[in-house]
Subunit: 393 residues, 2 copies
């Protein structure tokens, strides 16, 4: 372990795999990248969908249906197998020797996140739970694995999220241009990188809904036949309803000051179903409702920039599934003018791979002993080294 770590901590170039599954629980994103202190080169990336039965069990779990402790214990091991498999198959498919990979950073699958905590002996104890047993990943791949990044930030008084701001700073900072990285997953979040700024200058928070509301509306509109608005085609067919949009923009989350984070509690099925009913009752077409929700995501991003960022960025780099939605992308670009809006692809990081790459970056910092939470973003009391290290072979 000592020798491995000495190597990991001192080698100039490390090949690190990042493994990730997000709140939508579609499957495992696996990225292999070469990292130096100068930057990251993504060598390979794919998403390996969860088997349908596993995804169903996860969605049941999110919905508060079961599981018992035995199911959870089993699922933790099963996800460990699937995370390992996603990496092994990626390496096979792309002719990458597993032994060339020095380190794995695995986010796992969040199954519970209670950073605000419950009371215990008169004070709040926050907690967060990611599954996807890293001992299984290390045993199947033979590679030292860092996992469980969030609990240490929570233990230090933080929200345990967002954790990508450090990676965004590492990947995308620029000496003379002020940039934001705008992730549009289920929820949308921004990382603000002041020109020439250090990690301590990073500002990051959730801006509001990303694709979550749009996806749900598309599913309602198509009787479940479609799960998302491919390339934004449905939104493009509809018109934004100004009155409904202003109503949406009065949502308390949009006005709240950072640090702030949100999720299914605020913008889940209940919110979207109510929006659908209201729009339809007002005589809007399905496409109009989707177009309005798309504008809501774009406007809530723009509003967040105007109200809560130190200044407006020169450049905005989009990532996450929403970056592939042309209607949304254009809507964001229009709302953020005159900033230039592009995809992180332009900077060498595939917009879909960015999240997995981020956990590769964070794992490297763990073995280097670098604190990689951003206390201003998570609310933690101090910078902490994140994660747990499982030895390889």
């Amino acid at each position: 372990l000592k020798r491995t770590l000495a190597k990991l901590a001192t080698r100039k170039r490390l090949r690190v795999a990042g493994l990730m599954s997000g709140t939508s629980a579609d499957g495992v994103d696996a990225a292999v990248c070469d990292i130096t202190s100068r930057g990251v080169r993504v060598v390979a990336f794919h998403t390996r969908p969860y088997p349908a039965a596993v995804r169903r069990r996860l969605l049941d779990l999110f919905a508060g249906k079961g599981p018992g402790v035995e199911d959870l214990c089993h699922l933790n091991a099963v996800l460990g197998e699937l995370f390992a498999e996603a990496l092994v198959r990626l390496c096979e498919a792309r002719g990458i020797g597993l032994e060339s990979v020095d380190l794995v950073g695995s986010h796992g699958q969040t199954v519970c996140h209670l950073p605000a905590g419950r009371r215990f002996r008169g004070r709040r104890v926050g907690s967060t739970l990611q599954i996807g047993e890293p001992s299984v990943i290390a045993e199947r791949t033979g590679i030292a694995t860092v996992a469980d990044f969030r609990p240490r930030d929570v233990a230090a008084g933080g929200e345990g999220a967002p954790l990508v701001p450090y990676a965004d700073w590492f990947l995308f900072r620029h000496a003379t241009r002020t940039r934001t990285v705008q992730n549009i997953g289920g929820i949308a979040n921004v990382t603000f990188l002041a020109a020439g700024g250090g990690v301590e200058d990073v500002v990051a928070f959730d801006t509001g809904p990303g694709n979550m509301v749009i996806d749900r509306l598309v599913s309602l509109a198509t009787g479940g036949r479609r799960a998302f608005d491919a390339s934004g085609r449905m939104a493009a067919r509809g018109s934004v309803d100004g009155r409904l949009l202003s109503r949406l923009m009065r949502h308390p989350f949009v006005r709240r000051r950072p640090p702030k984070s949100t999720g299914r509690e605020a913008f889940g099925a209940a919110f979207s179903d109510a929006l659908w009913d209201r729009g339809r009752r007002a005589g809007l077409s399905a496409a109009d409702v989707v177009a309005t929700a798309t504008a809501f995501t774009a406007e809530s991003i723009a509003q967040a920039y105007r109200r809560h960022l130190p200044r407006l960025p020169d450049e905005v780099f989009l990532c996450g599934g929403g970056a592939r939605n042309a209607a949304l992308r254009e809507s964001v670009a229009q709302a953020l003018r005159p900033a230039r809006v592009a995809l992180t692809d332009e900077l060498g990081i595939d917009a879909d791979a960015k999240e997995a790459v981020s956990f590769a970056v964070l794992a490297r910092e763990t073995v280097r002993g670098v604190a990689a939470n951003v206390p201003a973003a998570t609310g933690a009391g101090r910078p902490v080294v994140l994660g747990k290290l499982v030895p390889g072979r």
Copy 2:
């Protein structure tokens, strides 16, 4: 991290804390010990009982009553706090500077153990789940913490148990005397250490019930007023019923060959309640039934030695709560004659502290990169480095 690990892996003497809570979930055993390659000196030890509400929640959990995933997520953090607190309070009480402790090894609390696994895609996936978040322990104490020792052995095809045999070998091996370490917890288990043998010569398995059956009978006999047979006083007042004892000795677990392990499934409340009814119906006094159960534990140990050990030991060292039961101790000594039977206390390790000390020993091996499972005992496919390392400050 690298510097810390280099220090941890190369320093001749390490001060390591071991934290443990067993299947009875009474509370947290905390031991501080100084470890060199020559041996272990226990500096301090205490048990800090769980708050009643926490213990109740754990017992409910063992009984299959709840909890939901949110409860488990919360309980994981709460137990992290309690494990940290057990160490902090021990150090305060004994004037030990926390900063003098180099490393923590925390077993955590097992809440689920399914090493035989459930089927997933046509093959069995084993799993095991310990809670007591080590990120919380590391953050509260500032000390690097190794935890989650069992999942890696399970990932390597093992039962994830027993893990103490390596520690027993480290602590108690002798050049010219063949020894066993006989732990009598809820379940009883033996570690056989051949004179001058290496770790690869260790034989270890569960011998059968320890205190589990006795405790339950005492609880039935006293209407729940007593939880165990203090010093074996109740057994001493009764007589062993020979017919009932021979019947008990025909239990299939007693005859099965190692590797083998058992638990509440075989010797839990259902087993004890049936034994109680049978004994009382046959006209035995409560004390007679307890005496007979005590003899069953002793005889099943002796039988295991005769049938399943390479040879009989010269010396037997007892540890675990059952070592404090005089009736049981004498019964074991008689059954194992002419071996000398003593407590591990004689070798410098308090019989109650031995389990916690073992996880301190295992944590030290983790940071040294030493594989500390005993494949012959766990059934693992290969020796593996156990545990996950969480950085200190």
